[in-house]
Amino acid sequence: MEKSASKQPPPTTTAEKYRNNFLREVEDNVEEGEWVKMCIQCGVCSGSCPLGSAWEHPPQELFMMIRAGQREQVLRSDSMWMCTSCYNCIVRCPRQLPITHIMHGLANYAHRLGIAPAQNPTRRFAKIFWDNIAHSGRVNELLLSIKLYFMNGFGEGIRMAYHMAGMGFAMFKTGRLDPFGLFMHKGIDNAKELQTMLTKAREIEDRRRGLGLGVAVKAD
């Protein structure tokens, strides 16, 4: 899915186009990014995140940094990767910013540019998750957990699997985990058709964002 299309603009285009205007870049390329300028910096959202202390830059601060043009600091941050999609912020924001979606959008944009923190566990989990569903159309929970446990290498995977074994066995015993899911997972009937759709959707989205393949997209 990540092969290059020759018609795409060269990698520098995005950077050139938005030089010194990171807000514009966010408005054009980040999901719901056009809302960022509406923020009045009241700070309500920042007090709403369940994993609050793990955010180096809470949402309100990210919005301020976007306006201040701190492109690198924002896109390389792991803060938006701490979003649990709890939607606390959205229902509280006095300006009704779709904060959750902007966090998702920033994470996605940084990831697509290949500059999101490589080792962030949520980024890696999210990638494994998407590949899992894009392949068969439905989540294969067993394959997903195994890939997840082993994403930090074999030794770590064994340690994790051991750590989680009790839980896995309990799930299996209660009929909530299929030990044969690895070989016999039943995805959807039209998985090929769905794959084609998703590939096409990604092409259209990249074209709209002027994100071509020339831009480094780290695959892992």
């Binding site: 999901e31 994470a107 980024r123 929970e141 769905l194 096409k200 990604r202 259209i204 989205e205």
Partner: protein, 301 residues
């Protein structure tokens, strides 16, 4: 009475041998008792969950959900879409809203749906609902009370609503801070509701329970601890993500925090099914890792 019919989107976690398979079992039982017919959307796909955004971006995510809406329109025309999972409901509804607001995105989505000849079946206005809405709005509290034959006397429930069944859409007429419907359901089936349960709408960590276990387990710890502190016999929830997270990590939390948690976490559909006279098996009670013994006892009576 004619059966009410819905176009059913069960979601990945609810299929056989998946993490919420017992949710599905109890939903089927509950719906049978309430004379609700669920017509599964043929060949439905994953909604993208709340973690799909990072790799999936915007349009691919909307295509996932739009495909389900179109399949529903094609095979179950005119029927409301009903999801049992908060994330499925949210994802599908979000897509429909976004495509209604953004004509370009709608055009792009339709173009992509042509790959499956589904472009004409996508509906901009078919209602996308959570099963809880069907219960409260279509059946109503009175209707929910009718089939009760075994009141759940003496069981104290902490109604844990969590995030995504509650925000950003929530249930009509309920507040985000203190939704009451789950407590009302508990009371209707004869249980005792802890109406001021402190962690009612606290986040369990969602998908980050996988990727940031320590941080999420802090949340879960607080959710279970509050249930104990307020005297609950069990937690009840409408969300499969909440159910899974709050139940299965208790062992690890006990190790990490030196606690002794063993708090059952049930679904509203399970407590309704038991009160309606179903067996433990029909109510999916065998699927609870931490056995809900008080419910089992009533079911076996």
């Amino acid at each position: 009475m004619a059966k009410k019919e819905y176009s059913y989107f069960p979601g990945c976690s609810s299929v056989r041998s998946a993490s919420a398979s017992n949710y599905m079992v109890s939903v089927n039982t509950m719906c049978e008792k309430l004379e609700i017919a669920l017509n599964e959307i043929p060949d439905w796909n994953c909604c993208g969950a709340s973690i799909g955004y990072a790799e999936g971006g915007e349009l691919p995510r909307h295509v996932l959900n739009a495909r389900n809406i179109a399949l529903s329109g094609k095979h179950n025309p005119g029927q409301d879409i009903v999801a049992t999972c908060a994330a499925c409901w949210l994802g599908t509804r979000e897509t429909q809203e976004r495509l209604n607001e953004d004509p370009d995105m709608l055009t792009d989505t339709r173009t992509v749906l042509q790959e499956g000849n589904l472009q004409d079946y996508y509906s901009q206005n078919i209602p996308v609902r959570h099963m809880v809405e069907v219960m409260i709005e279509d059946i109503g509290y009175e209707g929910l009370a009718k089939p009760v034959v075994k009141p759940l006397k003496g069981i104290k429930f902490a109604g844990y609503v969590g995030c995504q069944t509650n925000r950003p859409f929530g249930i009509d007429g309920e507040s985000f801070e203190n939704p009451r419907y789950l407590d009302k359901m508990v009371e209707i089936v004869g249980g005792e509701a802890i109406t001021d349960y402190e962690k009612k709408v606290t986040c369990c960590g969602g998908a980050l329970a996988f990727s940031e276990p320590e941080k999420s387990q802090k949340q879960i710890h607080d959710i279970v601890e509050a249930a104990y502190d307020q005297g609950a016999d069990m937690i009840v929830t409408p969300c499969p993500v909440c159910q899974m997270n709050v139940e299965v990590y208790q062992g690890q939390i006990n190790k990490r925090y030196g606690t002794n948690f063993s708090m059952p976490v049930t679904y509203y559909s399970q407590i309704l099914a038991v009160a309606y006279g179903s067996t433990g098996k029909e109510a999916g009670l065998k699927g609870n890792i931490i056995r809900a013994k008080a419910l089992e006892k009533i079911a076996n009576k």
